[in-house]
């Protein structure tokens, strides 16, 4: 396989905080340790982990909002911890690895949709015609072209999040990290955002890393990575990861509902064969089982 777009070697990060009520003592809070992870171009990865597991820290390390305290991160072959790593390189990494956050309100800068989408390209110092072109294209990708002149605060949560995504697309990144971008949305908005994620991955060839709480979303990804207490503990296809449901339970996670149901039935002694992740698959597996059970 070709060189990964993101490669982490023994990556670790420790937050240092002043301890309360003392002047000198500092507390070190390890958030992530010894993470080895390679992400290849065009992959669709989900990152799972309960709150405080370190998954958001990982995201922030990948586009250098945080600087690793241990180990190395290579973005497109470039070592970000290298001492020759310049400020221009830093902004190049941030352009390549875009990030969409949880709260859409706190990501939008401008009072008009198209100006917000233009914010990234403006920062890159692109010529005006190019910015215009990218804004139009990005709004088309997220199907928000009719809202170019609207005020963002009048849009729904899902629409705002689509604008935030357009703002990232306009910078033409190689990778987009969605840091719990669906957590604050209603089911409809969530479905919209997931659809766009998958469209970006399939049609635009953008590598998608979806950090999420929703197992149903994770089950759709090609590859699932599970982080627990700052350590990467599972890394494999969705089928592989969700096959060990007891392990997931031990670390406070669940499998998608269908898989959970089948797991519970198996525990009670029903010999159900086959893997099933999505709702449709579970329904089929159960129907097949019922057929065989009757006869």
């Amino acid at each position: 396989m070709s060189e990964p777009i993101i490669r982490c070697e023994h990556l670790g990060f420790t937050y240092t905080e002043d301890e309360e009520n003392t002047d000198t003592a500092r507390v070190e809070i390890p958030a992530l340790s010894d993470v080895n992870l390679s992400v290849y171009r065009g992959e669709y990865i989900a990152v799972l982990g309960h709150n405080g597991s370190g998954k958001s820290t990982l995201a922030k390390l990948l586009n250098l909002i945080l600087v690793p305290t241990e180990g190395k991160v290579y973005i497109d072959g470039k070592d970000v911890t290298d001492e020759n790593f310049s400020e221009d390189d830093l902004f190049d990494v941030r352009r390549k690895v875009g990030m969409v956050f949880q709260n859409p309100d706190n990501q939008l800068v401008a009072t008009v949709v198209e100006e917000d989408v233009a914010f990234g390209p403006e920062n890159l110092g692109l010529p005006r015609e190019e910015i215009r072109r990218r804004v139009t294209d990005a709004l088309n990708v997220v199907s928000m072209q009719n809202y170019a002149n609207h005020a963002p605060h009048k849009l729904s949560g899902g629409q705002k999040q689509r604008i935030a995504i357009a703002g990232i697309i306009a910078m033409k990144p190689d990778v987009i990290i969605f840091d719990e971008s669906t957590a604050m949305l209603d089911p409809l908005g969530r479905a919209e955002v997931v659809r766009i994620m998958e469209k970006l991955n399939r049609e635009e060839g953008i590598t998608v890393i979806n950090i999420t709480h929703y197992m149903e979303e994770a089950a759709r990804a090609d590859r699932v990575v599970v982080i627990n207490d700052g350590k990467l503990i599972l890394d494999g296809s969705a089928k592989e990861v969700f096959s060990d449901i007891s392990l997931l339970h031990r670390i406070g996670l669940e499998a998608p509902q269908g898989a959970e149901l089948i797991h519970a039935l198996r525990k009670d002694g029903f010999g159900i064969a086959g893997d099933s992740l999505t709702e449709e698959e579970s329904v089929e597996t159960l129907l097949a089982f019922l057929e065989s059970y009757k006869s």
């Binding site: 909002i65 400020e87 902004f91 706190n106 939008l108 800068v109 005006r128 910015i131 005020a151």
Partner: protein
């Protein structure tokens, strides 16, 4: 549209005044203010009033709105006018004299001029800068006009960015305040009864969570901006650049002409000489 921010009562529209470059509007407002304070003859005031009416019509602002703008200052205006009438001493015989009060012609003229000045000042600047210019356009205009100050290290871009982010978050924070108030009300808080002291006290439990969440928002926004490669105005381009059009130069000419006429109509000895010379030249040419 852009207009959806309700601050300073911007009325969205497509009138020639709306389309004017915000920088030129600021410049025009400065000239206009200079003209108002230079004016001291009835002719000059007539000219200023005509200019103001012209602006109102051009901006398609209804007279109701104009009345609303003037309403809050009417009391102060009348009060100062009366003081002016009573306290100004003039030459010659007073027009009216009873007991200790003497009213002179100069006093009346002065009061009328002063009142006119304040009224057209408020109307004119509101029409130019608030009613027909969105706060964002105004911010852009100010940033552009002040950009020469960047040479002496004044962080003009940063201030403009702060201003526009503040404007962007006004509706968000209003929404949030409502949410917090409802949450407090549902737990029995009372914001609408009691004296001033009690009401002010009731605001504390709203302000504290509002501030906490604003700081959190600010931090998240800063991270999001960094993720989008924000690095101040270093190497930054703009989607929409301000550009002067023919109408802006035309407006500049009109305002300059008004100021010139007002200066020429001034009744001061120092200017009379210059005035005669200019008029001589003009008439000689004709």
């Amino acid at each position: 549209m852009i207009s959806d921010i309700t601050l300073g009562q911007f009325f969205p529209g497509f009138s020639p005044l709306h389309k004017m470059d915000p920088r030129m509007k600021i410049i025009a407002a400065v000239i206009y203010i200079a003209a108002i304070f230079t004016a001291n003859t009835p002719a000059a005031f007539a000219l200023m009033i005509i200019t103001t009416f012209f602006m109102i019509t051009l901006g398609r602002i209804s007279f109701k709105v104009i009345l609303k703008a003037v309403k809050p200052i009417i009391f102060i205006l009348i009060f100062t006018a009366i003081i002016n009438v009573f306290l100004t001493k003039g030459e010659g015989e007073p027009l009216l004299a009873f007991w200790v009060i003497k009213i002179y012609k100069e006093g009346i003229i002065r009061a009328v001029f002063m009142a006119l000045r304040v009224v057209i000042l408020i109307i004119g600047t509101s029409v130019l800068l608030t009613y027909t210019t969105s706060p964002i356009a105004l911010t852009d205009g100010i940033e552009s006009l002040l950009s020469p100050l960047k040479k002496i290290k004044v962080p003009v871009h940063t201030f403009a960015m702060m201003m526009s982010i503040a404007l962007r978050f006004i509706p968000t924070l209003i929404e949030e305040t409502e949410k917090i108030m409802n949450a407090q009300k549902s737990r029995g808080a009372d914001f609408s009864s009691g004296g001033l002291r009690k009401r002010a006290k009731a605001l504390v439990p709203i302000l504290v969570p509002l501030f906490v969440s604003s700081f959190k928002r600010a931090e998240e926004l800063a991270t999001a901006m960094e993720c989008r490669c924000y690095r101040g105005d270093k190497n930054r381009t703009k989607l929409k650049a301000l550009s002067f059009k023919a109408r802006d130069f035309f407006a500049f000419l009109i305002f300059s002409a008004v100021l010139t006429l007002v200066i020429l109509s001034r009744n001061t000895d120092a200017l009379i000489g210059i005035k005669h010379r200019v008029l001589d030249i003009v008439f000689y040419k004709l």
